[in-house]
Amino acid sequence: MDDLYLDNIDEFVNDQNKIVTYKWLSLTLGVHVNIAKQMLYHYLQQKRNESSGTPLHATYLVSGKCVENGSTCHKVSVVREDKLDAVKAKMDVTISVHVYSVQRAELKDSSPLYNTDYDAVKENLKNCNKYSAIRCAAAVSLSSAELQRAQEMALVPPVEKEISKPGLNENTSATSKPSAKQPAGIMGMFASKNASKSQESSKEVKTEQKEDSSLVREQSKVSNALKVESKDTRNKTKRPEFVDRDDEEIESQQKKRRRIKKPQPDSSDDEVVPDSPPVHNVHTPSPKKQVKREPVSHQEESSEVKRRKRRRVLKSNTFVDEDGAFVTEKGYVSVSYSESEEEPEPNSQAKYSSSLKQSFGKRKEEKREKSQKKTSTANKPTKQPSIMGFLQKK
């Protein structure tokens, strides 16, 4: 190959002040990734030998074996040039060092690297692995019908995903977004077909496994799971996002569990049953916990896909007032068993119960009522309606 490419790279780096990653270079010039890496290497050598002009910075893709926490692992990471020697020293065996990118600016974080590749890959989405060294004949794009089915499956509990993961190790390119995508596991590195040298996935395996489990949980929540996955290959850039959303996930799982409990009280709510829950009393010990759940419940409600419908039923609440008097109120309360929405609260004067009804989804509030009904029957003098309610719950 002639040396024209050196001028090309020079133009990109110096004149246009671009970040030239090997992936971007291979897609732009239409060459195999290994050739692109060599081109960058030669360019760097040449420029460094000249020792004139603007300083260049480079990042490297290092892979090797190292021992962390007592277990050996194969680590692949993108490092800046100034940290290269330190990282190599930490590894027991350094398997490969490739030039990842060349640029004029000293990068403070890895986001611009991802940004550079993003558009190039997006434009060549169908054949972004044309120049890639990772191949698998069995990896074919899913048809749109299969893709839809896969997206629906993603909402199923995460356990199945984890089992299927070792099987889906034949990724073609790390940042491509093909339809059937899972982060390449450690199996992918050792698969006989895939050459060990040309690893393009630039992530640490250990952290990737952690990332996978959090990723997997997320999938059960987010419907466009596949899109999220493709971004996860760059663990450095994405992990904080997971941390942010972890709280939501936990809440959503809790909410899911709560949902499963729901059917029992729902079936009993068809009839007009005068309740005697001491809604007021029992709420006092845990108003804080409920208040904390409020903002999450709003988010959750809007993001959940399948929900039960609600029906409005005339209900009367009996509870103890501040003065100790029994107060019965009737109001329409909606009961859920399919798609849900916001609804107006019933006319209730009780402080806690009304605030709850205003801020919670109806479903939650009724759940609470039901659960507290159970506990309350022990405390309060039992009335016939409450016993009925208790029995009907079953």
Partner: protein, 210 residues
């Protein structure tokens, strides 16, 4: 055009929203890249499908949001010519000015799905350019601060004072020394033209920074 007036109004608002969101991300990124604040307060978040660094400091975020909240009505009415992020040294002399020149789009057209993804692509490129701008700029002296200036028309400032848009966030007329920099070098960074907004980003840098 006459039949589309209502859509035009929404259109202007949409464009202003997009622009203000972008400016917020850009300001955070400038603060990160130019090391105005320690990198510890920044956190990676996602915008336009790429990771960007945003600050977690509540007061800083509130300041930037209030600033842009006041700028937005000016943009909607096409009265903001430039939004400038000025970086000043300890003596409050500007060392760098990141100028976002905003002009109305050459051709006003109705937005569509493909249009917005194209705009997203252009904004992504702008973000990328800001990330690598330290290749073309000299280092700043330590202890720098920043401020945001808006170049607009006099009538607009009157309106701003009249309309109590700004609750406790008064804007003052900038001093001459903030607006003009002596011995400035002009470094263009990026230009983008799209159907809903047209923006140019360049940096004016003082030759002698210390």
């Amino acid at each position: 055009m006459a039949t589309l007036t209502r859509q035009d109004l929404n259109f202007g608002q949409v464009a202003a929203d997009i622009l203000c969101e972008f400016l917020e991300v850009a300001i955070h990124l400038i603060l990160y890249v130019r090391e105005i604040y320690p990198s510890g307060i920044f956190q990676k978040r996602k915008k336009y499908s790429v990771p960007v660094q945003m600050s977690c400091h509540p007061e800083l975020n509130q300041y930037i949001q209030d600033t842009l909240h006041c700028v937005k009505p000016l943009i909607e009415k096409n009265e903001a010519e430039k939004v400038v992020v000025v970086i000043m040294d300890k003596e409050h002399h500007p060392v760098e000015r990141f100028v976002f020149e905003i002009s109305p789009p050459p051709l006003l057209s109705i937005s569509s799905e493909t249009l917005l993804s194209h705009v997203e692509q252009l904004l992504r490129a702008m973000i990328l350019k800001i990330s690598v701008c330290d290749a073309v700029l000299d280092n700043n002296p330590p202890g720098c601060t920043f401020t945001v200036l808006v170049h607009t028309r006099e009538a607009a400032t009157r309106n701003m004072e009249k309309v109590q848009v700004i609750k406790d966030f008064p804007w003052i007329v900038a001093d001459e020394q903030d607006v003009h920099m002596e011995e400035a070098k002009l470094i263009p960074l990026k230009t983008m033209t799209s159907d809903i907004l047209k923006m140019q980003l360049y940096v004016e840098e003082r030759t002698q920074k210390t």
